[in-house]
């Protein structure tokens, strides 16, 4: 197992930090090339006029998912050393509801807002400012939000470990669902044309 490079001693702390802007550059580049720096394009998803968000997000997800699974399987990447976000059922559900509403109204998510701002869109700057305000509001209210924030923890679990099946089944299911989704997207677009 030679990766993650930061965990197997290949990369020190300074190199890890140096990798951040490089990876970020590639991230921002791909987002902008895909058109995700445009609020009108992003929100077209929710009116089914522009399905770019779904296409980019889920092809990215499936690519990374298949890549990670196979690199782990052949022994190059140790997924056990990759940070797996923890699950907090209720706060993440509520957070998702709020975030979706904010995404709809603001038209940009945190990452794409940076890309938008970088390409001159003042609404991108406004979203970034709003995000900071929202986070500060959360911090200020932390004492009474805390019980909700820390409720229903399940630890770092995956869908497949909760279901008691191997991760390959999840990989197959999500890939299949994404491909079906892409076919559906094509159909919706044909119907609109």
């Amino acid at each position: 197992m030679s990766a993650p490079l930061s965990e197997t001693g290949v990369l020190g702390a300074a190199a890890v930090l140096a990798s951040a802007p490089l990876i970020g550059f590639a991230f921002g580049w791909c987002l902008e090339r895909g058109g995700l720096g445009s609020a009108r394009k992003l929100t077209g998803q929710f009116y089914l006029t522009d399905l770019t968000v779904f296409k980019v997000m889920f092809s990215a997800l499936v690519t990374a998912m298949l890549g990670a699974f196979w690199l782990d399987r052949i022994g190059v990447l140790d997924l056990g050393l990759v940070y797996l976000p923890e699950t907090f059922v209720v706060p993440q559900a509520i957070g998702g509801l709020l975030f979706g509403a904010g995404f709809l109204v603001g038209g940009l998510c945190p990452g794409t807002a940076c890309v938008a701002a970088a390409s001159g869109k003042l609404d991108g700057l406004a979203v970034m400012a709003g995000m900071l305000l929202g986070i500060v509001s959360f911090n200020v209210s932390f004492d009474w939000i805390r019980p909700l924030f820390e409720s229903t923890p399940l630890g770092a679990v995956t869908l497949t470990s909760l279901a008691g099946v191997s991760s390959a089944i999840g990989v197959l299911a999500i890939t299949a669902a994404a491909l079906v989704g892409f076919a559906l997207a094509a159909r919706i677009e044909r119907a609109r044309a």
């Binding site: 990876i23 092809s59 690519t63 699950t87 904010g102 709809l104 003042l122």
Partner: protein
Amino acid sequence: MRREKPFADPYLAGVGLGLVLLAAYIVVGRGLGASGGFASVAAAATAVVEGPARAAQSPALAPYLTRGIASPLTDWLVLELIGVAIGGFVSAWLAGRSRLVVERGPNLGATSRIAAAVGGGMLMGLGAKLARGCTSGQALTGGALLAAGSWIFIATCFASAYVLAPMARRLWR
């Protein structure tokens, strides 16, 4: 002013994005993120205003201020976001897509758009804190790793946006 080039094929851009995410797993054992970087900046700003010692005592801010006021400036996500901005800028510049504009729906004034952007940003800031991430950190990164909470976030986020979309028509249509 360069001629505006068309956007890349979304599937290609997506695969590219997925490979970047995979590279992050391989190089630094973590995925991408965005909202966490904003949280670090917010913590730094609070520390400047309140003084680092006092700010670090707040349980909400403590995780972001491990090395006092220097922490947020050396946070992986903050550095990543700087890269995101530069990458977005260069890509837009080369494609003739950089211009100063307030992008908005056809039936919305600029001021209303800015107000909505700030309001939407606030909701996202709150939601991302509760969910421990956003579309980059939870949906993409956690989703590709099959994390349960990430998929809960994906489902509720998209459901919420679709259900509320008719009410927000004036913003975008």
